[in-house]
Structures are given as C-alpha cells and as structure tokens.
Symmetry: C2
Subunit: 206 residues, 2 copies
C-alpha cells in the first residue's frame, strides 16, 4: 500500500526581520491548500549576524540596500494586500516576543500570536519589546511573561538560534524542508512545492 | 486620443553575477508577451562592492550565504530548464565581456551575445575573461576586441557603473523601470508588470 507522508516545512523567522513580515502572513494560506504543515521556528538573527561580523542589521550597515528594502517591502505589501507602516525603530528588540513564541511553538494559538506581533511591528509601528504590547496580544499577561522569563525558555531559544546556524541559516525568513533551505519571502512558493514533492517521493519509497 | 507609451525596462547586469544568469536568459521571454522593451545595461559590480567595503563577492566573503546561493541557483536553473554547471572560478573577470556588450548595447545581436557569455560561464564553465572565449561567441574577433579596448568604450563602461551607483543599484541583476528598482532574478516578473502599468498610466495622463 502506498502511504504518503504528510508534507511539512519549518518556517524560521525573526520578529525584527522585515521580509519575515510578509512571509509569516502568507505561509499558512500557501501551505493549507496542498496540505503542508507549518512548524513555527522563532530564532534570533543577532548572533547569526554577529557570526558574519555585523553588529547591526545589514539594511542599516549598507544604506543603498536598506533604502531599496523599505521600498521593496512597501511594494510587496501592496501586492499582497498587507497593511504596512515603516517602523520608527529598526530593528526592534525581538527577545521577549521570540521567547513567548518559543514557549508557544506547539500551541494552537502560536500562528495567531506570531502574526499579531508582526502586525504590531510592521503595520502599527508598536514597540514589540514592551511587555504591554506583547501581553495585549495574548492573555493572561503575567503567565506569559513568567513563562518567557523561565531559564528553560531562554535556553531553548538560544538552542534554536544555534540550531539555525548549524543548519546553515544566515538570514530570515528561511523555510526548511528536509535538507533544503529556502531563504526569503520570495522562496515560500518553492518551499511549499518542494515539501509536497518530497513527501510524495517518501511515499513512493515505502 | 489615448496613446500608450511603449513599456520598457533596463536590465542592469554583471557577467560574473550568478543570479544575473537566469535573469538574462529569462527576461526577453517574460517581456515579449506584454510588449515590454528590454535595454541591456552591462556594468561592473567590483566598484559597487568596493563602495560597500567588500573586495570580493559577498558569496565568497560570507560562506553560509555562498553555499546557499550555489544550491539555490542549481534548483532555480532546474526549475527554469536552464543548463547549469558551477563555474570552477568565481567570480570570473567580466571586464572584456562587459566592454564588448557596452559597445553592442544598441546592436540587434546584443541579447544573443549576452546570453551566450552567461552560458559560457555558468553552463560550460569556460573562461569569459579570455579573448578566445569571447571572440568564439561573436566574430570578427579582431574588430570586437579593438572596439572593446577603445578609450571611449572603457570610459562608457566606467560611466555606466557610476550611473548604476547613482541610481542606488547595489547588486545584480537589477531591473529599472522609471524610478523603481527591482533587485534580483526573483523580481523580474514584478518589474515587467510595473513597466506595463507605468506605460498605461503615462498614456492616461496625455
């Protein structure tokens, strides 16, 4: 009997990352049709960039690239029908939101939380580093912040970032399907297609 | 009477640039359908990268990014049905080919020449810096090399590179439509669509 594995991809993202915004908003709509499961993988770009010798976002370090990115993101959001307002602070500290998302990775509300934090940063220009912003998105606030501050949560997020580097991830968003990396919002469609093909091949081998 | 401007885009490219390979091979097929004219704009990335503090390709300077790019390019070429062999030397010196393309910018054979040089570099792993490779693509070789070596050709290519920097170009390929930049092979479809819309708007204003 031919059994087909459920296709799946991991979406590695960083809450401060500009192109992660359209990617997290789009991924489930793209993945749901062909039945591809999405695993949310929050991590921190700071240590990844530090490994490349950068102490800031490359969009700040390389101004021509940064100017282009803001215009490109504006055009892309218009194309996708996503609201967009350029954040007055960039990059924003994503540590708190990433820790909360890390504790929520297996929860049914994880996707909604992730999307709402990105919306706060890139559509409402709100400070996602603040407890008020994060707890307004998901209640009860005290439990959320306590879970985020727990040593095991901090350790898990650090481990996720180390895992990202070990996988060869150098930017966000990156979709991972088996051994294949797909970097950037513009590779999401290819990543979903790859997940479907890979699952079908795995089914054929059984 | 409503008159529609002929839509057009400039394709700024560099012969050593990996993602310029699928872009130059694809652009005319994408542009011809909607009647968008393509202007070939060879330039040199070396001075652009030097402005950003790099003395080599970022794909060599940042190994994780480089490893990803080679695999991504291989996958993209498979998707587009383009032959691909990883060049044994990267980046190759593109000065001679860029000068020839600069002299040919208005010639009907320019597109074929550009595509053949990219094919030599990224499908046949041939040295595009050599006179033999370039003159095998386009004859008569002596006239070609003499025109490429003329002081006015050298000055024109330098001016094109300065113009690219002034336009805000920081990488290749970049499609330019009016004031809009579209960086990367993955933005070609958007650039063509923008050219069509821009020409239609210009027609409406008349």
């Amino acid at each position: 009997m031919r059994r087909v594995s459920r296709p799946a991809l991991q979406l590695w993202f960083e809450f401060a990352s500009t192109y992660s915004y359209p990617a997290v908003q789009r991924i489930e709509a793209l993945a749901d049709g062909p039945g591809v499961g999405v695993e949310w993988k929050p991590f921190l770009l700071g240590p990844v960039f530090k490994n490349q010798g950068w102490n800031d976002s490359p969009f700040n370090l390389y101004p021509a690239k940064g100017r282009y990115m803001w215009r490109d993101l504006e055009r892309l959001c218009a194309k996708y029908g996503l609201p967009f307002r350029r954040p007055s602070v960039f990059p924003r500290s994503s540590l708190l939101a990433a820790r909360v998302a890390r504790t929520a990775a297996a929860e049914p509300w994880c996707g909604d939380f992730v999307r709402a934090v990105f919306h706060a940063n890139f559509a409402d220009d709100r400070d996602i580093a603040s407890v008020e912003t994060v707890t307004a998105i998901r209640r009860p606030g005290r439990a959320l912040v306590e879970a985020a501050a727990a040593p095991e949560t901090k350790a898990r997020l650090r481990a996720a970032t180390e895992r990202a580097i070990a996988l060869g991830i150098f930017g966000a968003p990156t979709a991972v399907v088996g051994d294949e990396l797909f970097w950037g919002n513009d590779r999401l469609e290819d990543a979903v297609a790859w997940a479907v093909t890979a699952a079908s091949r795995a089914g054929d081998r059984r």
